[in-house]
Symmetry: C3
Subunit: 260 residues, 3 copies
């Protein structure tokens, strides 16, 4: 059974996501459908790209990922499908949304522009390509269609979305917050491999000593703690609390690691 | 594999929806379950009817739709199942919730009242027929039971929910807003087929010139745009913005098309 | 097809739930996945235990339930799997979260501590055992692994979470509100079997006469009504309204049944 995931900015109040699933099931009724998230802030391609990148490696190889955050729907922006080095498929608009995930899955080995209308819904709207073009295409791919059947090869695709990389500045490592999760944990762009042997973490005027803790409960309740999170990135949390609220922190805030 | 969809006003905080799925799976463990939405405002049958109607045609024929917005649960209101001309099944309370969807699927070819207790859960509550009656019944239908097995034929069913139709008034077309979606787009009751050749759209004291645009980005960011949405109905949007907020608009607001 | 349910406090904004599903599907791609709820308040083990207990009996026997509300992740708290008398499996942290559900399913017939690393993900984080330990383990169980394969037998497990039982005090039955649902209905801890033949219900200074009503519409719109809800517990509702708001009520408020 092929696994097909969906990520959008459609929310849960309307039936847009369900309509996409209906269109997938009309083509491939036996797939395993999994929602990644549909609460990407409206039209926030960057946030969608982060969540897609965060999720894809937890799925088995040869998973089919459909991602739609598509403010340019109906314009000349291309619709694409990517085959990754790990064997996964990424389908969505060519606006950078898919790029970080493709990179995390080993890079693209083939990319096509979706221009074969016989793999689309017979009747199509101008505003909902998620349902009318992308959903049936990923259905056909999940059923076994080859990438070259559903589109024409292209040499490049948008990689406009890049997450900042931490920098070494006068002996310190300067990173930043790239995501705030539901618990108020601050996810930074600093990977475990780049952590100094011993360091303090500075964020929003506060200093967290002792490097990376083994778990949240290494500090007393209410205290700040730095630790390596589930993506392998340094995170800042408050034990039994909310670091974003506690610090007044948000995406983009600088995080500095001072070696000691 | 049969596709079974669920639409309720139960929200996601409680496990009511999951309990219904458990009751379906107890009867038919191999169905493909799809949530339409569970964020219908509590007891808002009209809103539920809109969302069900909006979603059903995106699914393949012979899909099984379970819809529960049921303020009259436990009273004498009937529980019904409808077989549509397109081959789909609609199951829910007989309070008008299913009527617009049935009409959009070609009309009802058979309707039964669910009165065969052997297709219900052995133990039943008085307040949760969604789990105790409707869920197992749709499970049996999805497994292949005939409509006449699960209920007794009835000649009519409630069609209390009707969405207003646009009217021609002194050369103009007078419609109204029937839905506001997550993006703040205003969905009107004016179908594409009734659009004049050339027209301006008037809503909340503003005028949108140029008829229906091909896509959202046909206007500069922040501007109002009228276009045909994914249901084939005229929608009013703000490019990269929220039309409902921008105009202070809500359901029921008049929308007038002036031919020019 | 095995049914695997998931209950967490992860919310829907992030992809944590999806990552767990990916890890399950990497082991067992053909399971039927069902979300119980992911809107448990962050780290509220008691609320999670309530929702899990409320949902499990609606599922067929031999369902696999994965529940993660785990403020102690990464510490010495044990990870466990329980086999219940009814034939279900419960997997999660040993912090009391699973205990009320186990009891409702007939009690535990076997319990193991999850200490067999070959059933875990090859690479593991310190903060996301839901994905890295619990998810693959439940995948293997759903595929048919025996409890003793995935862990070592233990004699006991945490049962710290208990819901209060109603008490008889000078001829009255004294209970309390243990849950407020989406509709504002107040779920009490008083089971149907303990209701007096005739009684009035007192809550927040109000008295509801006439014992338990057959359904919500037994009273005029806007009025308070007491009735037996879908869990077999006495509930207090407002017809076409919200009892929690109407009464200013919340979890822990006393509810007294006065026989008459």
């Amino acid at each position: 059974v092929s696994v097909v995931t969906l990520l959008t900015d459609f929310g849960g109040r309307d039936t847009y996501v369900a309509q996409m699933k209906g269109a997938i099931l009309a083509v491939a009724s036996e797939v395993q459908l999994v929602d990644l998230t549909h609460d990407v802030p409206p039209q926030d391609v960057r946030s969608g790209a982060f969540h897609l990148m965060a999720a894809v490696t937890s799925f088995p190889p040869r998973t089919f990922h459909l991602a739609i955050v598509d403010p340019g729907v109906g314009t000349a922006r291309r619709a694409i499908a990517i085959h990754t080095a790990r064997g996964d498929y990424l389908v969505g608009p060519d606006n950078g949304l898919l790029s970080p995930a493709a990179q995390r899955l080993g890079g693209a080995v083939a990319v096509v522009e979706l221009d074969k209308e016989r793999y689309w819904r017979p009747t199509r709207s101008r505003t909902f390509h998620g349902r009318d073009i992308f959903a049936p295409v990923i259905g056909y791919l999940a059923r076994g269609a080859r990438l070259e059947e559903v589109g024409s090869p292209i040499a490049d695709f948008a990689s406009a979305i890049r997450f900042p990389e931490p920098k070494h500045v006068s002996g310190n490592l300067e990173g930043e917050v790239i995501h705030v999760d539901r618990f108020g944990n601050l996810v930074t762009n600093i990977p475990e491999a780049e952590l100094p042997a011993k360091f303090s973490t500075r964020v929003r005027g506060q200093t967290i000593h002792g490097g990376a803790a083994p778990h949240y409960q290494a500090v007393p309740a209410g205290n700040l703690v730095a630790l390596v999170g589930s993506m392998g990135l340094l995170e800042i949390a408050v034990r039994d609390g909310n670091a974003a609220t506690h610090l007044g922190a948000s995406i983009g805030d600088p995080v500095r690691l001072v070696s000691n």
